[in-house]
């Protein structure tokens, strides 16, 4: 149009870039079908995925930070017959696009190297770009139809990746459970949009914002919790997650756990905060309760686990719980008009989304490196890898510290912000949340501490100690691509931990749009510290703490070097004078978890240990039998399955009736209808 300089980057242009990016990814998927069998195929596809994703992340970052970039959606002629597909950024989707694509780009770079281990690339490579495209489509969608198309497309592509190694029955089962639960969630979201759209079907998000939700908004909340929660992995809808995430190839697991669940979080925020009008205060109650249970149960499940990838998957459940605690608080504050507090809680949640996407994918990539080096996922059969793969061990350690919410890494910052939000909750006017929030806070603290325990166990039994299996003893460090990707992620974990102010500031637009409030601009604070409410109230300076630790450590080291003796003798382990025993005597991952299992697990998992000691003189071996129940599955899923099976069995008889009996059915139907007709009038 006249008067606009062609050089200026308009929102519309950005949205167009984004749409092209998605299209490009879909093209890559098609290309993947053709080249996947070639030797170079996987490298080409993964490499270009990395490029496209970084481009998308850049565009989205610009859209997030550039002033005055409001939504001016690209309208595509495709999509719903009764309305056009609209793609575009608003601050929320821009923020999530950045998070998703940043991580995805790095993971794709890892996959360039890791992809070589794939036995059947043609079952992985084509679906990988489709998977990414689906996630971006969900984030960019500005109308219900394309949102759900993206959502289901995403489920479909990731399902194909889960069953990519379909030879193992467990993977097939994982795929089945995953696809069914994902579709169930999508159907509930369908209902939610049905409520929002109303009878004459205003499917664009704008229309939904303008028209008040048809029907009670509580229904929307419930449906959103079910729909988005089932994909995010809220307890008790998490059942598919520990099955599906480990089944996929490790770089895909990283994406599913680190990124895909965040798309679900986005869906929840979009529906509950954006589309379904102003919340009422009690909305926060179910969210907070579910979130607290999720956080605690997730980490406890993880502690019971000795399959490395399953452990990581369960930790995703825990972190989703933490994220939803933040969201629940934000709901409570927003409903009570405490805009700044709401902004704090929301930003804490989204910040944790960002952090978790970083360190969870880092950890899964590390697990992948271990898996490809040893062929083992069972931590009981690993150990001592820190000697064989030092760099992997180092990056994995960084991930462990970050996810355990320990300073100076990023995991701590977001939990610190969440705690700050919790401490603001006495301002809430209602009683129930005021009673609930401290309990939630305790849960949060407890799960953080348990997470630390869990990752001591994970890192310790995987990388430390002595190798428990020849495979672990013969492992070799993984390739350059993978290492550099993991190092990059580790660096990002540290970076986001020491200078969190930038992240918080860049999320200001989101909080403004969603809860109508902002935090003080953090970049104004001296020395890069963050003080969300008021420096006198609470402040944290990650950079300073980090520098101080480093200086203190170096200082100590120097002093010791200067004054201490340098003599160092290698010898057998002391171990209270016991002779050097076989590696099997060292603490395994399940023995490490034993005390915690006895304290918590006996209730939650009905965990029972039975020791059978042979009588003195009897040379038989002693036995320890441990049985742990997945109570959630047994309480919730088994009954449903049993009911469906029972109904199917009952009805199945109808397949085998005789013609006369079928005629009886017809006759009965006829008489019934006639009676109805006869009585209705």
């Amino acid at each position: 149009m006249p008067g606009r300089s062609t050089t200026s980057v308009t929102p519309f242009l950005l949205n167009q870039f984004a749409a092209y990016g998605v299209g490009l990814l879909l093209l890559l998927a098609v290309l993947g079908i053709l080249v996947s069998r070639r030797s170079y195929g996987s490298r080409v596809i993964y490499g270009s995925c990395a490029l496209v994703c970084s481009a998308l992340a850049g565009v989205a970052l610009y859209a997030l930070l550039a002033p005055g970039s409001g939504p001016a959606a690209v309208e595509l002629p495709i999509g719903l017959p009764l309305g056009r597909t609209q793609l575009g950024f608003d601050p929320l989707s821009a923020a999530f696009v950045v998070i998703v694509n940043l991580t995805t780009a790095i993971v794709s770079a890892y996959a360039v190297g890791y992809g070589r281990h794939a036995s059947e690339p043609q079952r992985v490579v084509p679906f990988y770009p489709a998977f990414i495209a689906g996630m971006n489509l969900v984030l960019l969608a500005q109308d219900a139809f394309s949102f759900l198309v993206g959502w289901e497309f995403l489920s479909l592509a990731s399902w194909a990746l889960v069953v990519s190694d379909d030879r193992s029955a467990s993977n097939r089962r994982a795929g089945l459970v995953y696809l069914i639960m994902a579709t169930g969630g999508a159907l509930t979201l369908l209902l939610a949009f049905g409520v929002l759209a109303g009878p004459e079907g205003g499917y664009s998000f704008d229309a939904m914002r303008q028209t008040a939700a048809f029907g009670p908004a509580a229904v929307v909340l419930a449906l959103a919790l079910l729909g988005a929660g089932s994909k995010a992995g809220l307890v008790p809808l998490h059942a598919w997650l520990p099955l599906a995430h480990p089944a996929a190839p490790s770089h895909v697991s990283a994406l599913m756990s680190g990124v895909m669940t965040k798309v679900a979080v986005y869906g929840f925020i979009r529906i509950v905060f954006d589309l379904s009008g102003p919340p009422s205060w009690w909305w926060s109650i179910p969210v907070l309760i579910v979130a607290g249970i999720t956080a605690l149960l997730g980490v406890l499940y993880a502690l019971m686990e000795h399959d490395l990838k399953r452990l990581l998957a369960y930790h995703t459940v825990e972190n989703i719980g933490i994220i939803f605690i933040g969201l629940g608080l934000a709901l409570a504050f927003e409903a009570s008009g405490l805009a700044v507090a709401a902004a704090l809680a929301l930003i804490a949640a989204i910040f944790h989304v960002f952090n978790h996407s970083l360190f969870k994918s880092l950890l899964f990539l590390g697990a992948g490196a271990v898996l490809s080096a040893t062929g083992e996922r069972d931590m009981e059969r690993l150990g001592g890898l820190i000697h064989r793969m030092p760099i992997t061990a180092f990056t994995f350690l960084v991930g462990c510290i970050a996810i355990s919410a320990l300073p100076p890494f990023n995991g701590f910052v977001s939990e610190w912000l969440t705690f700050q939000a919790i401490l603001l909750s006495p301002q809430l006017p209602q009683w129930i949340p005021r009673l609930l929030v401290p309990a939630v806070g305790a849960t949060l603290a407890c799960s953080a501490a348990l997470a630390a325990a869990c990752f001591v166990k994970a890192f310790g039994s995987t990388f430390l100690g002595r190798a428990c299996a020849p495979a672990a003893a013969a492992a070799n460090e993984t390739d350059r691509w993978s290492l550099s990707a993991m190092l990059l992620l580790a660096a990002l974990c540290l970076g986001a931990g020491v200078v969190p102010g930038f992240v918080i500031d860049s999320l200001a637009g989101v909080s403004e749009l969603m809860v109508g409030g902002q935090l003080a601009v953090q970049s104004d604070q001296p020395w890069l510290r963050i003080a969300p409410i008021d420096p006198a109230r609470s402040a944290y300076n990650g950079l300073l703490v980090f520098v101080m630790i480093v200086i203190a450590a170096l200082l100590t080291a120097m002093i010791v070097r200067r004054y201490a003796s340098h003599r160092l003798r290698r010898s057998h382990a002391w171990d209270c004078g016991f002779p050097d025993l076989s590696p099997s005597t060292q603490y395994s991952s399940s023995s490490f978890a034993q005390p915690i299992r006895r304290v918590f697990g006996s209730v939650v998992f009905r965990a029972r240990e039975r020791v059978t000691m042979p009588r003195p003189g009897d040379t038989g071996r002693a036995k320890l039998r441990l049985d742990v129940h997945d109570t959630v599955w047994e309480a919730l899923y088994d009954p449903v399955i049993r009911f469906v099976n029972m109904a199917a069995d009952r009805l199945n008889g109808i397949q085998y009736l005789t013609i006369r009996k079928y005629l009886t059915l017809v006759f009965a139907a006829l008489v019934l209808l006639l009676v109805i007709i006869g009585t209705l009038r």
Partner: protein
């Protein structure tokens, strides 16, 4: 001008299959006859296509309007692709001696007769004529179902025959009642059976007679549609007949019967005093959806399983039309078209699978994506499409249906969603067994044989993402007509 072309096309639509039937009855060689079969179907498709743009003048006996054009074109398309698929399929059946050469001759003649009957049923303006046509279509399919002469096939055909006959009788009674209601106003004779006049003046008919008649029509034609609890013939007929016939049954015949039901629903809708037919259709649709969904779990025969899936989808469509209103009707139409294409595509695939594996037992079929990757993945795509996942068209229609339903009656929407979820789980459970896992076998199947299947799925995928504005406007227009 346009009208004259239209009437020519209409004549062709009926004459070409008739001639084809006679011709094929005369020709012994199956190669030639298979080719001729396909060519005749192609001509029929062409005529149907012409009718989209050129409408003949309606007569007392024949009528072409927007509504039946949709069914005609979808039907002719499926009929054509099926005839192409059937050529290869029948050849294999001959090699394996399951069919004799004279069976094939009979089969081809019957195929065209079936086409004729269905076209006639669709274009007939006279409800009596429509009834006759549907009866003929039923009888032809009955004999085709029994064509293998195995005990199971004969048993299935017999069951189909008896239940079908009862259905026909009920439908006829309903038709007579409608005529009785009409002849008070429209006078005796053919005029009182012409559908367009019935619709025009149904407001003045006697509501009690209309109520009664709809009960009989719903059960009578509902038997043909395969709605529970009068569905019983459908699974066995699909499972035991030749697979092309299963494809035609699911893709066409069910739609034709549903179309008949729609015609009468419109007559009811014209009269304010009648008990609305909507709730009855919704109830039967929902029953079929739930019932079929649960039945899928216990199926061990692959064709029978997909037959139940047809029942499920017919239930959905009936429910949609029962709900009425522009959105739901649009969803119903779209779903009908998409289901025809997808389900026939699936049956094409299933036909090849049962021939390659030499069995229809799901338990004996494993890892198709390994033993025959293209076929396997096409099957996966087909099942994914029929289960209602994007980017396929079924998703679009289910999206519209569910969202529009919730606004009107939440509980119904929840029940609908539950049914969808159940059926979905059942299909996926079986799909995982069929498509994945290790399979020692390796089947060779020339890719071009899969062309019809790929074509259908391609169309469905395109329709899911981009419905051409012309078709879109057309469907919306029809939906608005369906009240």
């Amino acid at each position: 001008m346009s009208a004259s072309i239209g009437s020519a096309a209409l004549t062709g639509l009926l004459a070409i299959p008739a001639i084809g039937a006679l011709l094929l009855a005369a020709i012994p060689g199956y190669r030639v006859s298979a080719t001729i079969n396909a060519i005749v179907c192609a001509f029929t498709l062409f005529c149907a296509g012409l009718l989209y743009s050129h409408r003949p003048e309606p007569s007392l006996y024949l009528l072409v309007d927007d509504v039946n054009t949709v069914f005609l074109i979808v039907g002719a398309l499926v009929g054509f692709t099926t005839s192409v698929f059937s050529a290869g399929y029948i050849a294999h059946e001959l090699q394996t001696k399951r069919l004799r050469i004279q069976d094939v001759r009979f089969y081809h003649a019957m195929y065209q007769l079936l086409m004729l009957a269905m076209n006639l049923a669709l274009v007939s303006n006279n409800i009596g004529l429509m009834w006759v046509a549907i009866e003929v279509a039923t009888l032809t399919t009955v004999v085709m179902v029994g064509i293998y002469r195995t005990s199971a096939a004969l048993e299935a055909a017999w069951k189909y025959f008896i239940l079908g006959s009862v259905g026909i009788a009920l439908a006829l009674f309903g038709t007579i009642l409608v005529y009785l209601a009409a002849q008070e106003r429209l006078g005796q004779g053919v005029a009182a059976m012409a559908w367009d006049r019935l619709v025009a003046s149904s407001a003045t008919f006697d509501p009690a007679l209309l109520n009664l008649s709809f009960v009989f029509l719903l059960l009578g034609y509902g038997t043909k549609v395969g709605l529970a609890p009068v569905h019983a013939w459908l699974p066995d007929a699909h499972a035991e007949g030749p697979t092309p016939i299963s494809a035609v049954l699911s893709g066409l015949l069910l739609n034709v019967a549903l179309f008949a039901l729609l015609r009468f629903k419109l007559i009811m809708a014209g009269n304010a005093a009648v008990i609305s037919p909507g709730p009855m259709m919704v109830a039967m649709g929902l029953t079929s959806l739930m019932f079929a969904g649960l039945m899928i779990f216990r199926r061990r025969d692959i064709k029978r399983m997909f037959a139940y899936s047809s029942i499920e989808h017919m239930g959905i469509i009936t429910l949609a039309f029962g709900l009425g209103g522009p959105l739901a009707n649009f969803a119903g139409l779209l779903h009908m078209a998409m289901h025809s294409l997808t389900k026939s595509a699936i049956f094409f695939g299933v036909g090849y699978i049962s021939q390659l594996e030499g069995t229809q037992r799901i338990a004996d079929i494993r890892g198709l994506t390994r033993s025959q990757p293209l076929l396997g993945w096409l099957l996966v795509a087909g099942v994914v499409a029929i289960a209602g996942l994007p980017p396929f068209g079924v998703f679009t229609s289910e999206f519209l249906l569910v969202t529009s339903t919730f606004a009107r009656s939440p509980w119904l929407a929840i029940a609908l969603v539950t049914g969808l979820a159940i059926a979905f789980s059942g299909l996926m459970l079986r799909l995982h067994e069929l498509a994945f896992g290790d399979s020692g076998k390796h089947h060779a199947l020339p890719a071009y044989r899969l062309a019809p299947m790929a074509l259908h799925l391609g169309l469905v995928a395109i329709a899911g993402l981009y419905l051409p504005p012309a078709i879109n406007a057309w469907f919306r227009h029809v939906a608005s007509q369906l009240g």
